[in-house]
Amino acid sequence: MWPFHDADRRRRFEREALPHLDACYRFALALTRDAAEADDLVQETMLRAFRAFDSYTEGTRCKAWLFRILKNVFLNRRRTDGREVDLEESLGAIQELGWEDRPFYRSPEDAVLLAATRDRIEEALGRMPRDFREAVVLADVEGLSYQEIAEVMGTPIGTVMSRIHRGRRMLRSLLGESLGILQETLQERPHEAPNRGPGQVIPLVATREGRHDL
């Protein structure tokens, strides 16, 4: 492209995409759990996004668009170096952690949790399977809609909902554990949700756009 085309495109890119650099880095960290790899991932993502910027539709959310590119770059790299972790492994990891055997849907003591530091939260997230960590970070930290998360994760909305649901409760439980809150004290609380078996998703519900789970 000509310098004047490039200059114009660059200005637009710097105005619209570059403000999401921090968010991209956070998402890259959530995926990789490694600062150097996250750094690398973000650099490649930004260059690819810049090259493809003509295909970005104004009015759509730039952050979600960048995340889709970042996820693709991440998966391509993992496939290339044979480190891709699929859902089966994630479910295996849940069982390994014993998630299916305990009432992890209950919340640890709120007041204690609120004292949790960033390091503690990151450490707890790091112990979660990647798919669940990814869903929680995209929803809770980055504020993406279910539809946007589904597009980034390449899964149906129902799967997104179930990962957010389970992921949040995992995070809260792990954080509670790391803060020394005993699980037993929580089991007596009212509204104990029934323990769901592996692979079971949360029930059918009408959502904002009238769509249905799964």
């Binding site: 492209m1 921090d22 600062a35 930004m46 090259r51 990151e122 809770d140 279910y146 904002r208 009238g210």
Partner: protein, 238 residues
């Protein structure tokens, strides 16, 4: 809404993903049920906590600087376009092009051409050959001659009037398979009329200067020398 339903929907409620009427039902239940209200409130506080703590993570400044630097030095679109262009051209490289010495008196003129190439200002006239010719007629004190013939992968974008030193000149802007290519054209004084074409590199750019029908033309582009010389019309080669 029952307590069981409220618990089932609490994530959707937190994420603002409930249909409006469901949301109203949920809120009616929460208003009436302190136990569910406490639970949902805890989740809201937990979610806010996670967002606040993790949301403060920033990209390292070295990463930001590196990204900005790479964006500013980025040149689209890379090898594929270059190879496609090279393949589409018959590359004839006369011996004289390689052997012709680089007289220093042309250097300032080529500097102007490189500066014109790198200028961010766009063309004064955009469009096809006819549009460009009719714009330039009468605006420059020499015959208007579009420097490059039509060929695959090379497209005229427009032109602008410039100066090379004190001489009026025209800068033609082309797109060569995604690469910017410029041709700065001016009438020489006589002493700086090259006898043949010459080719060289300047700041990573290929610069080819050649005489054509009494004018001097300097082609500048970020393409390999062989590609740039291949673009120049055969009839104007020495």
């Amino acid at each position: 809404m029952t307590c069981e339903e409220a618990i089932r929907y609490e994530d959707l409620y937190l994420d603002g993903e409930m249909a409006p009427e469901e949301r109203l039902r949920m809120e009616a239940h929460l208003a009436a049920c302190p136990s569910c209200r406490i639970q949902v409130t805890e989740w809201i506080r937990f979610r806010t906590l996670v967002r606040q703590r993790l949301g403060e993570v920033r990209a390292p400044s070295s990463l930001r600087e590196s990204v900005v630097h790479r964006l500013r030095t980025h040149r689209a679109p890379g090898w594929r376009g270059t190879l496609a262009l090279a393949a589409s051209l018959v590359l004839v490289l006369p011996l004289g092009w390689v052997l012709w010495p680089r007289p220093d008196d042309l250097k300032p003129l080529e500097d102007h051409a490189v500066a014109a190439h790198l200028a961010v200002s766009g063309p004064e006239v955009q469009g096809d050959r006819a549009t460009v010719v009719s714009f330039l007629q009468g605006r420059v004190p020499f015959p208007v001659r579009i420097p490059l013939p039509d060929q695959p992968g090379v497209r005229l974008l427009g032109a602008r009037i410039a100066r090379v030193g004190t001489r009026p000149a025209v800068v033609y802007l082309y797109d060569a398979s995604g690469h910017p290519l410029s041709v700065t054209q001016y009438a020489p004084d006589g002493e700086d009329l090259p006898r043949s074409a010459r080719i060289g590199q300047r700041d990573g750019l290929t610069v080819v200067t050649y005489p054509a029908e009494g004018l001097v033309q300097t082609v500048v582009g970020d393409l390999p020398e062989s590609t740039v010389t291949g673009i120049v019309p055969a009839s104007w080669r020495p």
